[in-house]
Symmetry: C2
Subunit: 219 residues, 2 copies
């Protein structure tokens, strides 16, 4: 698509639609390249608009666009965690993990560049967005466990497991997405049960929760 | 100490000694403040030298000093992992963790600022230094396990556990260093055994290793 061909189209889009279109173009570029390898010209070309138009919507340039795309990816990730509060607990966790791994698969390079740190586009704002997703994941899990009031040991266990899942995702991308996503998913669910069991030996709240779902209630 | 009082002293130091002295002063400042809250004047004052002298040794200014201090902290961390290859495996792991947690305790704010990311001082070089320590930790563990040739599942398990330990350290600092370091140490060792056991059900190499040390050989 050339900027010329796209010009008539942008007249038909509302401000919000145009913004969304630019963000989607940016997100798909940032998903597969490190931020330093994406230029505003690339974004303009992918969206089929002119560079000045991109600047009109994102006067802060690439950094602003990157942060907006990241915010949009963070929203998509949060949606992965949405899971009806019914049925066996571990089956819910497995489904959320499945959606999460599909997200990682789809946004591989960008996901990896973001979480590895040290990128030129990384700021305290981007770190805060990522931390917000981690916190949301922990709250989702605790809420499904019926432990929104979790004590420090249970909370720490859940947060450690979430970090381990992140590490697994990065290694998984490095290893050419091996083992297959469904095996990785089941392995991570089993690790969750295993670390909760370790904590249960030290923490009554965790022990009570663990009793409430059978370790093999996944199927 | 004032710069005047220190001037005679620096004539007696060799270049290497002076560099070491400046690095030690920087490291102790960076240990307890975020990099953006440390100025070159602070470092000069802490070392009892003039600001131009600091620049003579570190012409790249604060960033260069930060990276050098980080490199020095990374060496200290690597020393935490040095452990004689004798005695029960989990006792070795517990001793290495104990030294690691003492390091985290001593460098609390700097450790936290570094690992949380998004700091102005974070670059691809600082990220590479931190990743180097993570890799060294993984290699130490695999080598103690007699599995320098570890397959992907065992390697992934060890790396995930190391990331979980890092996350635990950060949460531990946030929680006012609770639970006490020795409890956290034992909890982390138990988690290591638990996640290895989960992997053992999927990986023969891990199963064989796990059989080689009793889960309660720590004492």
């Amino acid at each position: 698509m050339t900027p010329q061909a796209a010009t008539p189209a942008y007249r038909r889009l509302s401000v919000e639609e145009r913004r969304r279109q630019l963000l989607d173009a940016a997100l798909s570029l940032f998903a597969h390249r490190a931020p330093e390898d994406v230029s505003l010209d690339d974004v303009a070309e992918a969206a089929g608009v002119s560079r000045p138009l991109v600047y009109r919507y994102f006067p802060g340039g690439k950094q602003q666009l990157y942060e907006a795309a990241l915010g949009s990816a963070a929203d998509a990730l949060r949606q992965c965690f949405d899971e009806p509060r019914q049925g066996p607990m571990l089956a819910r966790l497995a489904r959320a993990l499945e959606r999460y791994l599909a997200f990682v698969d789809e946004h591989d390079t960008g996901f990896s560049a973001l979480l590895r740190g040290g990128s030129v586009a990384e700021t305290s704002r981007t770190t805060a967005i990522v931390d917000g997703v981690r916190r949301a994941a922990a709250e989702h899990i605790l809420s499904h466990l019926g432990a929104a009031d979790a004590g420090p040991r249970l909370r720490m266990t859940v947060r450690m497991w979430i970090t381990a899942v992140e590490a697994a995702s990065l290694i998984w991308l490095d290893e050419g997405k091996q083992p297959p996503a469904d095996e990785l998913r089941d392995w991570l669910v089993d690790q969750f049960v295993a670390v909760l069991s370790v904590t249960a030996a030290r923490d009554e709240q965790t022990a009570a929760l663990l009793g409430a779902f059978a370790p093999d209630d996944r199927d």
